[in-house]
Amino acid sequence: MAFIILLLATLSAPAAPLRAVIDREVAQGWKTGKVEPAQLANDATFLRRSYLDLTGTVPTYAEARVFLDDAAKGKRAKLVDRLLTDKRHARHQMQIWDLIIFTRNPANPAFTRKRDAFKNWLEKQFAKNVPWDALVRKMILAEEAGSAMFHVQYRNRPEDETVAVSRIFLGTQLGCARCHDHPFEALTQRDFYGMAGFFVRLQVLQETKGKEKVYTIGEKSSGEVLFTGPAADAVPGKKGEPVAPKFLSGAALDEPDLPKEFKEPDYRKIKKAPYPKPFFSRKEKLAAWITAPENPYFARAAVNRVWAQFMGRGLVHPVDDLKPDSEPSHPALLDALAKEFVAHKFDLSWLMREIVLSESYQRDSAGPGTAAAPKWYERARVRPLSAEEFMAALRVATGFNVAQGLDAKMPNAAGSYMLKIFGKPTDGRGNFQGGVHEHMFLNNGSQLRSLISAKKGNLADTLLKSEAPWDERVDRLFLSTLTRIPSSAEREKLVAYITAKKDDKRVTRARLEESIWALLNSSRFRFNY
């Protein structure tokens, strides 16, 4: 009898939620790394961090007030739920993945630099929480309007597309294998060209509809990648031999033969969509193989990236270099994340929610130690705001152009300057390099001045017109800019600074604007910590 009860108890016990598994594995890691964890982050820290990570901007004064004043239990979970369905979340996810796919310097920039249709399409997918496998399939199949831009980047360059797809979706660096067999790993040049075979038949059709360029992807029924051997041996007159498509794991693609009477249409003559359907679509087979639950690379690469997005550092670092022999810092955790992601049908929202609500994510970043992204996650990671986040946060903090919402523009062409100056703040290996140029812009440029300068309804204006005592106004100042209340030393200092000549309205205004400037330039604004 006891045995049966025990059995029933085991069967009915709920599986541990992913966040508990995360916390258990991370705690095990602290023992391995012999580190002490920092305390948990307070509400203000959690608020700002989760806003930035989930929506790419900071909360407004009002939003911050509501959250910090709320005494209810479970408010962090409720906040996360709200943020995951917020419009800004979809926009932020789109910006993150758009940057991964296209980087700051996309290939084929004449066509890809302006890609609003793609961005809109991608944003819609995140808004609907389309499962990750379906999303990647859609990008490769490129059948929905706006989704074609991924392939347009690599028009007529199947080799380059192979490198990109492998790196982004499978976390594998194939670049070296393009010109010679990899000196250290099992990947050969033939493996590379086998994958390239999936892309060689793709065709890009460009049509102009009004002011927009619209792209359609087609696929021929014939055409092969020609392999000429190592680049060092390439000579004029040497013929290439065709390589049959082969999945990276090794299995060759099973393709039916083209019927003898088949005549390939002349794609150069087709000027309007749709393209004819191919006799056999390699693209469909590739999309299915990449996103299959059994694909050893796909789920692992995805969860590793999402983990890195929130935790600052992948379990395999760097995130796009998952080799068969690469050592994850927390192997059991990576396995669990991948397994559960598949079991939950690649639900991104679910995955993000579990990570953000784990205690591991909610550690404070205060503490000894100087690493920006500690390997054992004993402290929260520190990273600079991206250029887009920085601009959004500046607008929210100063109350600039709020009415325009997500599509608001920065003043004085700040947008293009800031993309250039703040676009790549890290060195080649992801370490933040505080550039003097950032500070010359922030110290001397008119753009930041425009944002701060008191104008109807913005932060400076609101504070100047308020009749509350300056102590309270400084609290509001800190909440608006840094999403936290000042310490008493800070409050004292700022009140004294602003009201040094309190009878002179011009001086008070100038000093208030200088204070806003100092806060917006501080580390607490510049970084997501």
């Binding site: 000429t228 390439a234 007159g237």
Partner: protein, 359 residues
């Protein structure tokens, strides 16, 4: 002709280095080619357009660096060769040979095989060729001569070089009749049939540097003045191929140097684009020639393909050849036609001269 039945008859193998220039000697069925090392070779094509490719007939020695252009007078008697060695040499094609020599035709293949430690052995292919008597130096510049052509009446020989010098010399005397300097390097040059106007493209091929120069202008030759600056219509393009139609009405412009080889037909009077042809030579255009039938022109490029076009409407009539290699394409550096327009010679980078019969 419709060019439908055109086909390649021979590949005259000369695997010493890239073949970079080619020229028929009048209607004599003799053809001369030059290569990247400065060597020059001559073949006599048999009357019957079939059978094995003929062996080379004569070797022409003199240049010490790449041959960029070969031009022969219509009577087939005087051949000029322009080179990276800063000179133009003049050759008397009727002169009797003064000796002979043995040479290896496939030096390139033998060398490449020596770099490997495996593979089939490559036997040297020997042949004996006659020696062309010494040439004389017709022109001496200070830089690589990239452009060399005759005026339509063959009275002038015109050169352009990387020192920016454009020089019109009297062909009979060798005297300079007109000369001017441009700021960049002369990349391509075409002259109107009446020799009053020129179309000139310049370059300074810096990469990512503000001083990079890509300019295309029309000139009045007598005044040595620019009459139209068309650079904006070809913004940031290298234009290695220019040609002026014999009827004076059309200027052909070809884009190249590893960029998509677009071709435009310009109205010679105004310089405005009349037509852009399609398809392009992938990786760039290298050469143009007009067909003596007055209705067609041919283009060659870095994609191993020669295309025949209708001069009036810019429509593609025929493609000769197919791209050869995988990721890396071979070039046709230059093309020439016999005066009756039935034979085409192509300077092929892979070390041969391709002879096509056009029909």
């Amino acid at each position: 002709m419709t060019f439908e039945k055109s086909k390649q008859i021979w590949g005259l193998k000369w695997d010493a280095d890239w073949v970079t220039a080619v020229q028929f000697l009048g209607d004599s069925r003799r053809v001369v080619a030059g290569n990247r090392l400065g060597q020059m070779m001559e073949w006599q094509l048999p009357d019957k357009l079939e059978g094995d490719a003929p062996q080379p007939l004569r070797q022409l020695t003199g240049h010490t660096n790449a041959i960029t252009r070969l031009r022969c007078t219509r009577d087939g008697r005087t051949l000029y060769s322009a080179s990276y060695d800063h000179t133009v040499r003049q050759w008397d094609t009727a002169a009797k040979s003064d000796g002979e020599t043995k040479l290896t035709l496939n030096v390139g293949a033998v060398y490449r095989r020596s770099l490997r430690h495996s593979g089939k052995k490559v036997e040297p292919v020997l042949c004996t060729v006659a020696l062309q008597p010494k040439s004389k130096i017709f022109a001496n510049q200070k830089e690589w001569i990239t452009v060399m052509l005759f005026s339509a009446d063959e009275k002038q020989l015109i050169t352009g070089d990387d020192g920016g010098q454009v020089v019109f010399r009297d062909r009979a005397s060798g005297k300079v009749r007109k000369q001017w300097a441009v700021e960049g390097w002369v990349h391509a040059l075409a002259v109107s049939p009446d020799a009053t106007r020129a179309a000139l493209s310049e370059r300074r091929p810096l990469v990512f540097d503000a001083a990079s120069r890509r300019v295309f202008r029309l000139w009045d030759i007598a005044k040595a003045e620019v009459t139209a600056d068309l650079s904006k219509d070809f913004s940031k393009m290298y234009l290695p191929a220019l040609a002026w139609s014999p009827d004076g009405k059309t200027i052909l412009v070809g884009r190249g140097e590893e960029a998509e080889g677009k071709i435009w037909l310009l109205d010679a009077a105004t310089g405005k684009k009349r037509k852009e042809v399609s398809p392009i030579h992938q990786y760039g255009v290298t050469d143009f020639i007009f067909h003596p039938d007055g209705e067609h022109f041919l283009s060659a490029g870095r994609d191993t393909v020669i295309r025949i076009w209708n001069l009036k409407d810019g429509k593609l009539v025929k493609e000769l050849g197919k791209p050869r290699g995988g990721q890396f394409k071979d070039w046709i550096h230059a093309i020439d036609l016999t005066p009756d327009g039935t034979l085409l010679a192509a300077a092929d980078m892979s070390g041969q001269v391709n002879i096509w019969h056009l029909a």
